[in-house]
C-alpha cells in the first residue's frame, strides 16, 4: 500500500525531556489516522515537526517518499493546536493571505467559508470571533488548498455539539474522496467513529499502532433485558459463554465466538422469552486505549 507519510526514529528533545522519542510511523494513503495519547505525550510536537515549525533533534520524515519541503506543505491542509490568524483581518482577508502562501486561487474562499458555516460573519474581524468560530475558520483554512492530506490537531476543540457533528461529517466526506487525514484527538469516541488506523503515544514513545476495525473484532458483548429474570435461561443457553447481571435487571452477556445478538434473540424467542432490550456492544477504543496505557506503565 502506498505510504503518504513515514517517520524514521523521529525525535525531539527539550533539554532532558524527550518529548518525542525515536518515533516510527507510517500513514497509508487514504487512511484516517488517529494519533492518541494523554496530555503531553508528544502529539503536537510530532505534528509540529512534520510541518517544519519544530526542529527535530533526531531522525527524519518523508512526505510522499520525499523529505519535507515548503512545496509539500502548500498541498497539506493543517491546523496545529490553536487557531492562528491576523486578528485585525476578516475571515476572508485572512484566507486571502493563506491562498497567496499556498499559491491557490482565491475562488474557493467563499466555498470553504460556507462549508464551515461562517458565511454570516465572514467580513468581521477575526478578533471578534468566538472560540468555536475561530476553530471553524482554521478548518476552512485547512480545506482551502483542496489538500491531498489534512493534519488536524484537536479540530473539534471548542466546538458546540452541532459543530462537532459537522466536523465529523466533514472528515468522513473528505476521507471518502480518498484523501488522507491525520487526526490527533482526545475524543476517543470520535476517533473510533472516523478513523481507520490509530497510533498511541505515551511519554513520546509509540506504544501501539493498528487498525480500528481490529479493536472492534474482539469478542462481542450483548446487553439484554426481559420482563422476567433471565438468570437461569442464560445460564443454560449454549450460545452464551458467560453473563453478569447489570443495572436495571439487564445482563451483560459474552457470546460464544461466532454467535451474535441475533442468535441470542432467536434462542430466547424460541424459549418464549420476549426481550425488551437487546444491544450489541463492540469493544470501545476507549477501553483499549486505557488498557494500553495501563500495560505500559
Amino acid at each position: 500500500m502506498e505510504t503518504v507519510l513515514s517517520t524514521h526514529q523521529l525525535s525531539k528533545q527539550y533539554g532532558r525531556l524527550k518529548a518525542v522519542d525515536k518515533l516510527d510511523l507510517s500513514v497509508p494513503k487514504g487512511s484516517v489516522f488517529g494519533i492518541l495519547g494523554p496530555n503531553g505525550s508528544g502529539k503536537t510536537t510530532t505534528l509540529g515537526m512534520l510541518l517544519d515549525v519544530i526542529q527535530p533533534t533526531g531522525g527524519s520524515y518523508d512526505w510522499f517518499g520525499k523529505p519535507g519541503s515548503k512545496e509539500q506543505r502548500k498541498k497539506i491542509g493543517a491546523i496545529l493546536e490553536t487557531p492562528i490568524f491576523y486578528p485585525y483581518l476578516s475571515a476572508v482577508k485572512n484566507l486571502e493571505v493563506v491562498a497567496l502562501i499556498k499559491e491557490v486561487s482565491k475562488d474557493r474562499i467563499p466555498q470553504v467559508i460556507e462549508q464551515v458555516g461562517l458565511s454570516e460573519r465572514q467580513h468581521d474581524k477575526y478578533r471578534t470571533y468566538s472560540l468555536g468560530m475561530k476553530q471553524r475558520l482554521s478548518i476552512a483554512s485547512a480545506l482551502l488548498c483542496d489538500p491531498e492530506v489534512m493534519i488536524l490537531d484537536e479540530p473539534t476543540n471548542g466546538l458546540d455539539p452541532q459543530g462537532i457533528a459537522d466536523i465529523r461529517q466533514l472528515i468522513i466526506n473528505i476521507a471518502n474522496e480518498g484523501k488522507t487525514i491525520v487526526l490527533a484527538s482526545h475524543l476517543l469516541d470520535e476517533v473510533q467513529k472516523v478513523c481507520t488506523d490509530f497510533a498511541v503515544l505515551k511519554n513520546g514513545t509509540l506504544i501501539y499502532t493498528g487498525k480500528v476495525e481490529d479493536v472492534e473484532k474482539g469478542e462481542s458483548k450483548v446487553i439484554v433485558k426481559a420482563e422476567e429474570n433471565l438468570e437461569n435461561t442464560l445460564a443454560n443457553c449454549p450460545l452464551v459463554q458467560g453473563h453478569i447481571p447489570s443495572t436495571n435487571g439487564r445482563f451483560e452477556v459474552t457470546m460464544v465466538t461466532g454467535k451474535t445478538s441475533a442468535d441470542l434473540n432467536k434462542y430466547l424467542f424460541d424459549k418464549q422469552v420476549i426481550v425488551s432490550h437487546l444491544e450489541t456492544q463492540t469493544k470501545s477504543l476507549e477501553k483499549q486505549f486505557l488498557e494500553l496505557l495501563n500495560e505500559n506503565k
Binding site: 526542529q55 502548500k74 496545529l80 491576523y86 499559491e103
Partner: protein
C-alpha cells in the same frame, strides 16, 4: 518575489496602524523639510546671528546644496518607519502567525525575504518622496543662475536610500532577535548610544574601527551640512568607501536576520 510582496501587502493593507505610521511619516517629514525658510525666519526673529551672514540669505534650498541639506534632515524621521518595521515583525511573533505561515507553506527564508522586500519598498517610496521635495523646493528657491546645478550632488539621493534601507534592515534584525515590540523600540532607540559607547571605550588608535559598525556606517553616508553656512569645512559629497561599506552590510544584515529564525522552533 512578486508573490512575497503580495503576501506582505495583504497582511498590511487593512492594518490601520500601518497607515497611521506611514501617514505620519510622510506628512511630518514633508512639512518639516519644506519649512526650512520658515525656520530661518523664526531664527531671525529670535535675533540669532550667523556672524556676518544674513540668516534669510542662507541658501538652504538652492541647487545643489539642497540635496545634502534635505536628505540630512529627512533622515531624522526614519524612526517612524523603524517603528512600523518593528510592529510588522513582532506582530508575527506575538500573534504566532509566523508559525502558521510556515505551516501553510512559507519557508523561513521566504519569511525574511518578504520582510526585506517590504523594507525595500518603503525605502524606495521614501527616497522618491524626498527626491520630489528636492526638485520642488529647489525649483522654487534656486535663482535662475543655479538651476544648472540641479543634479549636481544628486548622489545624496542614493545615499539617502542606502541609509534608510540599511537602518531599517538593522531595525529588522533587532526586532527578530527581541521579538517584542516595546523592548525592540527601546533597543532601537539606545542602539546608536551603544555604538558610541564602544567608541568611547576603545583606545584612541582603535577608535576608527567603530566607523565599521552598522549604525556608524549608515550615519557616515550623509555628513552634517550646515557647518558650511558658518564657514566651517564640511564634506559635501558622498564617499565611495561609505557606499561600499553599506552595500556590504546589506547581505550581512539579511543573513543575520535569517539566522535568528533559521534553526529555531516556532511555537
Amino acid at each position: 518575489m512578486n508573490r512575497l510582496l503580495k503576501i506582505e501587502f495583504s497582511k498590511l493593507l487593512s492594518y490601520r496602524t500601518f497607515w497611521i505610521l506611514i501617514g505620519i511619516y510622510f506628512v511630518v517629514m514633508g512639512i518639516t523639510t519644506m519649512s526650512g525658510m520658515e525656520f530661518l525666519k523664526w531664527l531671525a526673529e529670535k535675533g540669532a546671528q550667523f556672524g556676518e551672514v544674513n540668516i534669510m540669505k542662507v541658501p538652504l534650498y538652492h541647487f545643489p546644496d539642497i540635496w545634502q541639506n534635505l536628505t540630512y534632515v529627512a533622515q531624522y524621521f526614519r524612526l517612524l518607519l523603524g517603528i512600523f518595521v518593528i510592529i510588522s515583525i513582532t506582530n508575527e511573533f506575538s500573534y504566532k502567525t509566523i508559525r502558521q505561515n510556515v505551516i501553510d507553506g512559507l519557508s523561513r527564508a521566504d519569511f525574511i525575504a518578504s520582510k526585506v522586500l517590504i523594507i525595500l519598498g518603503i525605502s524606495i517610496v521614501s527616497t522618491v518622496f524626498v527626491f520630489l521635495i528636492g526638485i520642488l523646493m529647489g525649483s522654487i528657491y534656486s535663482p535662475e543662475s543655479e538651476m544648472r546645478f540641479m543634479f549636481k550632488h544628486i548622489d545624496f539621493i542614493p545615499a539617502f536610500f542606502l541609509a534608510t534601507f540599511n537602518y531599517l534592515l538593522l531595525v529588522m534584525v533587532i526586532a527578530l532577535i527581541v521579538k517584542r515590540a516595546g523592548l525592540s523600540i527601546v533597543i532601537v532607540l539606545v542602539y546608536p548610544a551603544i555604538e558610541f559607547m564602544i567608541e568611547v571605550i576603545l583606545p584612541g588608535p582603535l577608535e576608527f574601527l567603530t566607523n565599521y559598525l552598522p549604525y556608524h556606517a549608515l550615519s557616515n553616508l550623509i555628513d552634517v551640512p550646515f557647518g558650511r553656512y558658518i564657514f566651517l569645512e564640511i564634506r559635501d559629497s558622498v564617499a565611495f568607501s561609505d557606499i561600499a561599506l553599506n552595500l556590504l552590510y546589506i547581505p550581512i544584515l539579511i543573513w543575520a536576520g535569517y539566522q535568528t529564525i533559521a534553526k529555531k522552533n516556532l511555537s
